[in-house]
């Protein structure tokens, strides 16, 4: 049984102009000791899906799912009190902005100790000992002295290390890292990722890595789930995904990497993610897709099998060629 199992998760937001569906029928599963990456551009609902799992969405959101279970417990029927016991102890989260994720009013030591006290009930000296251990584990020099440091005295990389220490404090089974390296510079990014992965290996935790950086994905993840406009459009192990993307969006995304560009100009995906008012009726990627046909405009695409990477597409690609497409050379020819 997987550690975290999400089946058909849907999140709707009540907005001034009606319902907005931010996450649309997403299914995911993460095992112990596994690294799953969720990629997609801004607004594709990847963060919202994970916030829904953690129960952190504002009251304007309605969450529904067939199953939403963690470690054999149903997250949908959990009372807030039970959820608070679980979240933070067995599930931890790391955020994008390390500088603002720490409370500016309290010292680092106090903030690490807080969850140790609440969840594990450690005494003051035990908390101090464990805090020093944790800071050492995340590679902060001189941890005894750092315990009494305030967040504004730390750099961005240091703060993120402290956040990781807090996340690891209660030895969680699952860590959700929501773009943990976006706000950091490149050298620190590599260090933080390396740290996260090595700690994850040591403690055998599940790790969900939300990112839009394909480089990060290639380096760290084992399985990749590609999201677009609230839907999961493809899921594959990392190797095959980079070698043979099945959904046109994934293919276009990979083609847009500067490392892969061959021509003079960097290929890009025209248009933007559909919002609340310009949602296409059938396939959500259709307006931006190179291979879109009339069928894509009228019929909701089916979920393909494992061979085609669970792609949500009428004409999944194999080695760059759409299967079953009337004009496999692309829209230019079809037009």
């Amino acid at each position: 049984m997987p550690l975290l199992e999400i089946n058909d998760l849907t999140v709707d937001f009540k907005t001034g102009s009606g319902q907005f569906r931010a996450v649309d029928g997403v299914s995911l599963s993460v095992d112990r000791g596994e690294i799953l990456a969720i990629v997609g551009e801004s607004g594709s609902g990847k963060s919202v899906a994970m916030l829904a799992v953690m129960g952190l969405l504002p009251w304007t959101a309605t969450v529904s799912a067939k199953t939403l279970s963690f470690d054999g417990r149903d997250l949908l029927t959990l009372t807030p009190r039970e959820r608070r016991k679980l979240v933070g102890k067995d599930m931890a989260m790391i955020f994008q902005e390390p500088m603002s994720s720490l409370n500016p009013c309290f010292t680092v030591g106090y903030q690490i100790g807080e969850s140790l006290k609440v969840h594990l009930g450690l005494s003051k000296s035990e908390r101090r000992k464990r805090s020093i251990e944790l800071l050492e584990a995340v590679g902060i020099p001189d941890p005894e002295r750092r315990l009494s440091a305030f967040p504004h005295q730390l750099s961005g990389g240091m703060s993120q290390r402290v956040m990781i220490a807090i996340a690891l404090a209660c030895r969680p089974k699952l860590i959700i890292a929501d773009e943990p390296t976006t706000a950091l510079d490149v050298t620190i990014q590599a260090q933080i990722l390396e740290l996260l992965v090595s700690l994850q290996r040591e403690t055998d935790t599940g790790l969900v890595l939300i990112t839009h950086d394909m480089g990060v994905v290639a380096e760290t993840a084992e399985r990749v789930s590609v999201h677009y406009a609230g839907q999961k459009i493809e899921e594959q192990p990392v190797g095959p995904l980079f070698a043979d993307p099945h959904h046109p969006y994934t293919a276009a995304l990979l083609a847009a990497l500067p490392e892969r560009a061959t021509g003079k100009r960097l290929p890009s995906i025209p248009g933007v993610v559909p919002g609340q008012f310009d949602r296409p009726p059938a396939c959500l990627f259709e307006p931006r897709c190179r291979f879109a046909t009339d069928r894509c405009r009228t019929k909701v695409p089916p979920r393909q099998g494992a061979i085609a990477g669970f792609a949500l597409c009428h004409y999944p690609l194999t080695h760059g060629r759409p299967i079953g497409h009337p004009h496999p050379e692309g829209r230019e020819v079809a037009a």
Partner: protein, 302 residues
């Protein structure tokens, strides 16, 4: 044998100033605030040790010495430094005990309205829907009535006394705190560290009071410092109207009111409480301004 050179010890790096020292340095850069602080501490000292400083009891009547002018005026008596009032009570003693009353009113109003305001403001910020609406609209209603009028109405309903004056002024000043707390709490609660606290399993109450509140304290403290003086003024106004502290008690506003008719014949009975109010309010305002400058990182130069 090596010449015994005197190795001069390395100059020890001065430790960075602690938070309190840094605060005081910023604070004392503002001369006016420093003067205000000195005046205020003097007032507090006088109020606290009123029993030992005041030459007489504030209620003791020296019937043969009614309306004696201050000592330096012709006809003054050195036994009564600031003269006596219409029934022979020593003005200086009454003013000294009045300082105690005024500062007590100011402080308790601020503490009460701050405490209630923080609770209501945090509830308004954290509970969406009707609790927030009810609280904020109630505050709007309070704000829409002129403050002195509202205080008079409240005192008229619950009866004039010192405690009721405090209650009335507390209600009058409540909306400022509620709005201030709500605004800064709403701003703070969207920050990442609040979400992080929730990820850590913190409940709503803990987030309200332990995570968010300490981060909203700076503007609240400044507001508190600035309302003390207003509360004292308001209490004096109510006392003057006969709705505050009742006559025998040496409240400055009540003293003004009872001496009103002697404005021509014995002006010191009226002017000295007035000057006392002026000095107190001025010093508190100066300190409040200095506090705001010292607590606001944007005004700080270093």
């Amino acid at each position: 044998m090596p010449a015994d050179r005197v190795v001069s010890p390395l100059p020890v790096a001065k430790a960075p100033p602690g938070p309190f020292v840094a605060f005081f340095r910023d604070f004392s850069e503002n001369r006016a605030a420093l003067v205000g602080l000195i005046l205020l501490s003097l007032l507090v000292f006088v109020a606290v040790f009123a029993n030992f400083i005041a030459p007489y009891s504030p209620y003791e009547q020296f019937r043969e010495f009614t309306r004696i002018p201050p000592a330096w005026v012709e006809g003054g008596n050195s036994a009564f430094l600031l003269g006596t009032d219409e029934i022979g009570r020593d003005m200086l003693s009454r003013l000294i005990f009045g300082a105690r009353l005024s500062l007590f009113i100011g402080l308790s109003v601020v503490v009460a309205s701050m405490a209630v305001g923080i609770v209501l403001g945090l509830i308004a910020a954290f509970a969406p829907g009707w609790p927030s609406i009810v609280i904020m609209r109630a505050m709007d209603v309070i704000l829409s009535v002129p403050s002195l009028l509202l205080a008079i109405v409240i005192v008229a309903i619950i009866g004039p006394s010192l405690t009721n004056t405090i209650i009335a002024i507390t209600v009058v000043y409540l909306p400022y705190y509620v709005r201030l707390v709500r605004a800064s709490a709403m701003q703070e609660k969207t920050r990442d560290y609040v979400t992080a606290a929730r990820v850590g399993g913190a409940g709503t109450l803990r987030i309200m009071f332990k995570t968010v509140l300490p981060n909203c304290m700076a503007p609240i403290i400044v507001q508190a410092a600035l309302t003390i003086s207003n509360a004292i003024l308001e209490a004096a106004a109510l006392g003057f109207l006969g709705l505050g502290a009742q006559p025998p008690s040496p409240e400055w506003g009540a003293m003004l009111a009872s001496a009103r008719e002697f404005l021509q014949s014995a002006p010191w009975i009226v002017t000295t409480p007035g000057v006392a109010i002026l000095i107190t309010v001025l010093s508190i305002n100066l300190v409040g301004d200095g506090l705001r400058d010292a607590l606001d990182p944007k005004m700080r130069r270093s």
